[in-house]
């Protein structure tokens, strides 16, 4: 096996490996942030060793906190949630499920993986360049992200590398999207119609379609942002801006314009992260209930509807940007409309379980956990989709709690479900069931212990992106809540070590698997 393999199975495993590495870094950054929030004055030797400029004497500066937040968000959204469910599992299993010998363009597939890897390395390089990693969050709003070094540490070369990394990621994702769509359209085996494909294949198909339309727009935004930073253009930087007592020699740019370009990508990105998980969960619920998926066609159409509507709702991220109230109403109605296909999926999952002979294997537990998280996170999405409420909740921890549940943790649960379900095909062995169940219960309780209290912090008006709550009188009373959340986060991280052990141990020592151990009906289990 060569690392520059064009084999879809090898590339799928490479994507999964990259995501696993990325999630460990992303998780470590989140723990450092949580630690700082409850111990803002603590001096930690590790911080000083890792970031001598950002943590002089071991005490984390606000700028370092913001750079960790930026990198955490970027790593998790792009290199974990976008990469593993679609490119990882999709590459490995899509050709097997539709009877293709490989992806349509194997060399392009290999190039796509290595461009993603290069993008990841470029992003990581931001940690070690002068000024460190950027501060502007994963959304990189200008003017902060567009001004360059004068805007603060990390806004020089660090932000350049961030934009370059995202541009590379866009190119890689476009290559992957073209490959997935072409594979499904052209390489289905004879007799495999669109409505003969498993819902996982449908999910990868719809996700690839979304990627094709969304990443090109982010690429355009990234190119214009890079030119504002490096070529003296004024696409996003307004005229008359004064930074550090210096007037910026730019004219008439619009920061809101970048927000439109970003969120035209950013909202569909939520579905890029979650739709492959929906496909996996549909399959797992069906297999471990011993029943066919309830309402197969409705499930496929619902995914298409979610994908289509997802492009019409980007404005709900910008309710407070000064847009017309009429636009807000339109975006709000369309946002709430996404609840319809989402509810179709949820009710169909429940109907699939109804009357089934349910086997509570670890994969099934994760699938049920996904449904729970999808409902919890989805309901708060309806709250945020209303302009009147969003005015209050915008940029509070309510938003943080919402998107972590619906986009982050739910998608991660789908990844866990997929790994438990397909591990016999990936490695010829089972993941240990007992460890898997302990890991599930610990993780399930842990994520709710972390993110439910953060909703209440948001309701209490706790803004996000503040590195030191004790500086603000109105936030002092919320410190006990944050201490509890941070301890829950430590526990949640600790239980992940159990999964890591299980993942690597089971590859060599796990129980050997039969050819189709779960009794599944999809093609990948019958492939030699």
């Amino acid at each position: 096996m060569t690392i520059f393999s064009t084999d879809h199975k090898v590339i799928g495993k490479q994507y999964i490996g990259l995501s696993l590495f990325a999630v460990l870094i992303g998780m470590a950054l989140s723990l450092a942030m949580r630690y700082h929030l409850v111990h803002p004055d603590a001096k930690v030797r590790l911080f000083q060793m890792l970031w001598p400029d950002g943590a002089p004497g071991g005490q984390m500066t606000p700028e370092l906190y913001l750079s960790l937040m930026t990198m955490h968000g970027t790593i998790m959204v792009f290199f974990v949630l976008t990469t593993a469910p679609q490119s990882g599992f999709g590459n490995y299993f899509l050709p097997l499920q539709i009877g293709a010998h490989d992806m349509a363009f194997p060399v392009l597939n290999m190039l796509s993986f290595w461009t993603t890897t290069l993008s990841f390395l470029v992003l990581m390089a931001a940690f070690v360049v002068e000024g460190g990693a950027p501060l502007s969050g994963w959304t990189a709003y200008p003017p902060l992200s567009a001004l360059g070094k004068i805007a603060g540490p990390g806004q020089g070369l660090g932000q350049d590398l961030w934009v370059l990394s995202i541009a590379l990621f866009c190119v890689a994702s476009l290559m992957a999207a073209i490959n997935f769509i072409a594979t499904i359209i052209e390489l289905r085996a004879p007799g495999v119609g669109y409505f003969d494909m498993p819902l996982t294949a449908w999910a990868w198909f719809v996700t690839a379609l979304i990627s094709l339309f969304a990443f090109a727009v982010l690429l355009a935004g990234g190119i214009l942002l890079l030119l504002d930073r490096m070529a003296g253009t004024s696409f996003f930087i307004p005229g008359g801006l004064v930074v550090s007592d210096q007037i910026q020699a730019r004219s008439g740019g619009s920061p809101i314009l970048f927000q439109h370009l970003f969120w035209f990508f950013g909202h569909p990105e939520v579905y890029i992260a979650i739709l492959p998980g929906m496909g996996v969960i549909s399959t797992v619920l069906s297999v471990f209930s011993g029943k066919k998926v309830f309402g197969y066609r409705a499930m496929a159409y619902a995914m298409l509807a979610i994908g289509g509507l997802g492009f019409l709702v980007w404005g709900h991220h910008m309710f407070i940007s000064g847009m017309s109230p009429y636009s807000s109403v339109a975006f709000s109605v369309l946002t709430l409309a996404i609840g319809v296909p989402s509810a179709i999926k949820t009710f169909n999952w429940i109907a699939t379980l109804w009357g089934g002979r349910i086997r509570f294997k670890a994969a099934m537990l994760y699938a049920l956990g996904f449904v729970s998280l999808f409902i919890t996170g989805g309901v708060t999405g309806l709250v945020l989709g209303q302009p009147g409420l969003d005015l209050y909740f915008h940029d509070t921890y309510f938003v943080v709690a919402h998107f972590h549940l619906i986009m982050g943790v739910a998608a991660i649960f789908a990844i866990f479900a997929a790994l438990h379900y397909w591990f016999p095909l990936l490695y010829g062995r089972f993941l240990n069931e007992t460890l898997g169940k302990i890991h599930f219960y610990g993780t399930f309780v842990g994520v709710y212990a972390v993110f439910v209290p953060l909703h209440f912090a948001g309701i209490a008006g706790n803004p996000r992106r503040y590195p030191d709550f004790k500086e603000y009188e109105f936030l002092k009373s919320l410190m006990p809540l944050h201490v509890g959340v941070t301890h829950a986060a430590y526990s949640l991280a600790a239980i992940q070590l159990l999964f890591l052990f299980n993942y690597f141990w089971s590859q060599r020592k796990g129980k050997l698997a039969d050819k189709n151990p779960w009794g599944a009906a999809t093609r990948e289990w019958n492939h030699d």
């Binding site: 999207a177 073209i178 052209e186 094709l212 355009a220 190119i223 008439g252 035209f264």
Partner: protein, 143 residues
Amino acid sequence: MTNVARTGQTLLIVASSMLFAAFTSAMVVRRATGTDWIAPSVPVWLWAAALLAIAASCLVAKKFYRSAALCGFALVASQIACAASLRMGDVAQSFAAVLVTAHAAHALFGACALWWKGERASLFWHFAGALWLYVLWLIGVWA
């Protein structure tokens, strides 16, 4: 051309169209919201370069792929010369530079593909030619 190649090219065309749609929408919004928009003047010879794109498409239709690729390379050279002459400090000219350079990248890819892959790259080349006419209209007439 195989179905797989044709589908792949069609999808590439969709992605490229989205890229240029995003640039266009940014240009429309930026012109409407700023007070610093001065219409860029497109060099006359850039209009003449449109003939290169059309000539290349005609040559592709006649299956003279390498001759078409040479026209493509000439088009790219004229586009690079044009982009280099534009002032990035002027917002309308900077949009023109972005669009011309982005198209040059597409034209270069298309010309190289014509040179090495011949007929298999024809669909993309026709798209690149039509796209150049659109870009010229956008920066030369609309802007």
